[in-house]
Amino acid sequence: MILVLAVLVGVLYAVGTYLLLQRTLTRVVIGLAIMGHGANLLLLLAGGRAGRAPIVDGPGGGAFADPLPQALALTAIVITFGITAFLLALAYRSWLLRSDDEVEDDVEDRRIARLARRHDEARRHDEDDS
């Protein structure tokens, strides 16, 4: 229940969301990475207040910090890294094939929408005829 961390998590999520809603793949990847940072902090925050590093017989005194959220966050850091690297490889390939890294509209979905418009026009045409 540390206010400053909660605010920071909120800001990281907001920035991540904002970037995810962009069309440039690079910005999307950066957004995902920032959101990942937010998620890791959120895990840690859910573990309660700060404490001694969870190393038995280690230095320092006081209560241990909860080790379980730390283990979860450690896994999350590594996975986020894997996804980031993979998305960057996609951005690289997009650049190789098309010389940019824009996220295009789904061609198939656009086709469905076009079909609906054409049906509408055909119906209007029929009504004009009759």
């Binding site: 229940m1 069309r23 902090l41 940019d100």
Partner: protein
């Protein structure tokens, strides 16, 4: 035994396709075993069941849902079984002669057998949900049977129409069943009828159930699917669309009416009103048809309306008359349809303008047709007359006020129409004078081949039964009385009688016959009058424009919701997150106590740095700048990890962040320096608003989640066991490589897959000129 008979239907239905390849049309005789055995067994039970002791069988199926395989053979179920299985066996025998060998016949026989079993299930089931299951099975098998000639577009369209109308009604009925069942606290049909629940919710449920019954039994305004269903082979029409399936709705109304008609004010006006309207519309339309089969179809619609009026009133005498009509109609209408099938099979036409002199060519068939049609028209000494007399008598003494008088007038008018279209059927199909070769066709009749005797026997059997029961009511009286008695004990006391004396009832019967004869004499004038009325709005038109409208709506909704833009999809998902869990968070939870600003001043400062770096990453115009800001965020978070007491995380974070920045730089050196100016699809303001909303939501969530640590954490055990069990001092490491080692194995697998993907993307992505 009841379940066993249902099982026999299922087994034969599954075996029929294979048998059909070997036996050809004779497969129908094998399949006839199922309804035949059922009818025979029911006959052995008849004595006890008609006295009022029902045979039951319960197999527990899904007890948690109140869904049992509860089967119950009472008097009314026995009456229905006599139709479903008795007439069913006759139809199967008839089918053996109707069909010539053709591919797909075995499949057809299988579906027909499956239908017979489903229909048997509907009338035997004693659980509302089980009724629904069998009910929908009859809809599905009916769909397959109507669309049997699947190379014809019209047959496919008719099949689709039938299943859409009856299926939609079936869904409404299911909702109604649930409402009624929940109010009653049981889904057992006999239990609900014994102790009917009341109240507004039950009323709404009953309306929904009636909706299902009316679609199935082709009541106005859902009647249009039934004539279209005549695209089915004639045995199907004779079985499903006259004797059995369309009576499922009548069956259900008959079951419910005695318990609910008096208690709900809407019931009688609604049910009897619809019935009268259906009877008149069907009869009127039947008078206009040239196709013998369509004429019968509209006639069936009309008769179904009649039955609904009778059984829907919930008055003992009317219930009795309704039970009599159900039996009479099953006999004469199935016979009439079989006659049409014979005519069609021999003459290859069913147009009464073309047919001429068939009566002289096949007098036996003509006699069957005349007897059956006369029974339908209410001519004395036939079963139809007895049921109609009973109906008039009961309506005259029903004490239903103005509504009852209107119902009586409607029923008499409908019966006049019935006489007229019955005569039109016989005279048009078998008379000498009608076939003038209308429409440029030569008259067909005198030289058609005669049907095989065995082809005529099934229809003749039903006609003989009609006569026998008409002359000697005592033959059929126990069945009708026992059936009606099972619905309403008071109804079981009535009896069929040939002669009531010179009463008003007899007068009405005479009036019906006389007025009907007038309509027959003046048939030409009636046709001209009807021709002038043609073009009125029809229920079919409403159906097709509703269907077209639905498809148009689906097109538009798809075009809006599935527009192909990834940001829009994501935006919708995020807005849903804000709207549903977000609202709950806002309204249902309070912030926990014990909130501190920060652990130390250093933490506040570092958090501020990370915050600035994150905002910088969002609004940077250059790619490298954005990546450097991202690196700043990562390193800052590593420091926050240290402050929080997580040195392992900080170490990992530092390594990963460095590696990530290196990869970014490797890729970005190929890409343009600046971001493309964004295309304003979603709008900058919308993006900022959605992002801000998500940020506030997550911040609030993190505070609430952190305050929810009320239970003892499981990590206490990890801390205690790390040294003795795993021999490690760093508990985080011990969790990763020992306590939760399989999770880590999964994580490594993910990384391996990602690495393989990256390698193949980079390798395969090379341009041709870069190779070699």
């Amino acid at each position: 035994m009841l379940a066993l008979l249902l099982g026999l239907h299922a087994v034969l239905a599954l075996a029929a396709p294979a048998l059909g390849r070997r036996l050809g049309p004779r497969v129908f005789l094998v399949c006839a075993l199922a309804p035949g055995a059922t009818a025979a067994w029911a006959a052995t039970q008849a004595a006890g069941v008609l006295d009022g002791s029902a045979t039951t069988q319960v197999i527990s199926w899904v007890p948690g849902l109140g869904l049992d395989l509860a089967l119950r053979l009472d008097g009314f179920a026995l009456l229905m079984v006599a139709l479903v299985s008795g007439i069913g066996a006759v139809i199967f025998a008839y089918s053996r002669w109707y069909f010539s060998p053709r591919p797909g016949l075995g499949r057809f026989a299988g579906v027909l057998t499956a239908f017979a079993g489903s229909m048997l299930g509907v009338v035997l089931a004693d659980n509302l949900l089980l009724i629904y299951v069998f009910w929908e099975l009859t809809s599905i098998t009916s769909y397959l049977l109507i669309g049997f000639e699947d190379e014809k577009g019209s047959a496919r369209a008719a099949a689709l129409q039938a299943i859409l109308v009856t299926g939609a009604g079936g869904l409404a009925m299911l909702a109604g069943f649930v409402l009624v069942g929940q109010a009653a606290g049981t889904y057992s049909l006999s239990g609900i009828l014994a102790d009917p629940p009341g109240g507004g919710v039950v009323g709404a449920g009953l309306v929904l159930v009636l909706l299902g019954a009316c679609t199935k039994s082709a009541q106005v305004p859902f009647h249009f699917w039934l004539p279209a269903a005549m695209a089915a082979p004639t045995p199907v029409s004779a079985y499903l669309h006259s004797a059995t399936m369309v009576k499922a709705g009548v069956y259900l109304i008959a079951r419910l009416a005695p318990a609910f008609a008096a208690g709900h004010a809407f019931w009688r006006p609604l049910v009897m009103g619809l019935g009268v309207a259906t009877m008149l519309v069907g009869g009127w339309r039947a008078l206009r048809q040239h196709d013998l089969k369509l004429l019968l179809a509209y006639g069936t619609v009309s008769q179904l309306g009649f039955m609904v009026v009778l059984v829907g009133a919930g008055i003992p005498e009317l219930t009795f008359a309704g039970a009599a009509l159900i039996v009479a109609h099953g006999l004469f209408k199935a016979a009439l349809f079989m006659v049409v099938g014979i005519v069609d099979h021999q003459a290859h036409t069913r147009d009464l303008r073309v047919l001429s002199g068939l009566g002289r060519r096949m007098p036996g068939v003509a006699a069957v047709a005349a007897v059956a049609a006369a029974s339908m028209a209410g001519v004395p000494l036939l079963l139809g007359f007895l049921s109609k007399e009973a109906a008039y008598e009961a309506l005259l003494h029903a004490h239903l006020g103005v509504g009852g008088a209107l119902a009586l007038a409607g029923v008499v008018a409908g019966s006049v129409l019935t006489f007229a279209y019955g005569a039109r059927f016989v005279l048009g199909g078998f008379g000498a004078g009608s076939g003038q070769g209308a429409g440029g066709h030569d008259p067909v009749g005198p030289d058609v081949p005669r049907p095989a005797p065995a082809f005529v026997v099934p229809a003749a059997l039903l006609a003989v039964l009609t006569v026998v029961a008409g002359v000697a009511p005592a033959v059929v009286d126990p069945l009708v009385g026992g059936g009606a008695g099972a619905l309403d004990p008071a109804a079981g006391k009535a009896h069929l009688a040939l002669w009531h004396g010179f009463t008003l009832t007899l007068g009405l019967s005479v009036l019906t016959l006389a007025a009907g004869a007038l309509l027959v004499v003046g048939a030409g004038a009636v046709e001209r009058f009807q021709g002038r009325l043609a073009g009125a709005p029809s229920a079919v038109g409403v159906y097709s424009s509703a269907l077209a409208g639905l498809s148009r709506l689906a097109d538009r909704v798809t075009a809006v919701l599935q527009n192909g833009s990834l940001p829009v999809y994501l935006g919708v998902i995020l807005l849903t997150v804000l709207a549903l869990p977000g609202l709950t968070l806002l309204t249902r939870t309070r912030l926990p106590g014990g909130i501190v600003v920060g652990e130390s001043p250093l933490q506040v400062v570092v958090a501020g740095v990370v915050l600035v770096a994150a905002v910088g990453a969002a609004f940077a115009h250059r790619r490298f700048a954005a990546v450097l800001f991202l690196g700043g965020v990562g390193y800052g978070v590593a420091v926050l990890f240290v402050i929080q007491g997580a040195p392992d995380l900080a170490l990992t974070q530092l390594l990963v962040e460095t590696l990530a920045v290196v990869i970014f730089v490797l890729v970005l050196r190929h890409l343009p320096e600046r971001f493309e100016p964004s295309v304003w699809r979603l709008g900058q303001a919308t993006r900022v608003a959605v992002a801000g909303g998500v940020g506030v939501f997550v911040a609030a969530f993190s505070l609430v989640a952190a305050g929810a640590r009320t239970a003892e954490p499981v990590s206490g055990a990890y801390l205690e066991q790390a040294v003795p069990e795993a021999g490690g001092h760093n508990v985080v490491n011990v969790i990763l490589v020992d306590f939760r080692a399989f999770d880590t194995l999964g994580e490594i697998t993910v990384l391996t897959v990602a690495a393989l993907g990256i390698v193949s993307l980079v390798q395969a992505g090379r341009r041709p000129q870069d190779r070699a």
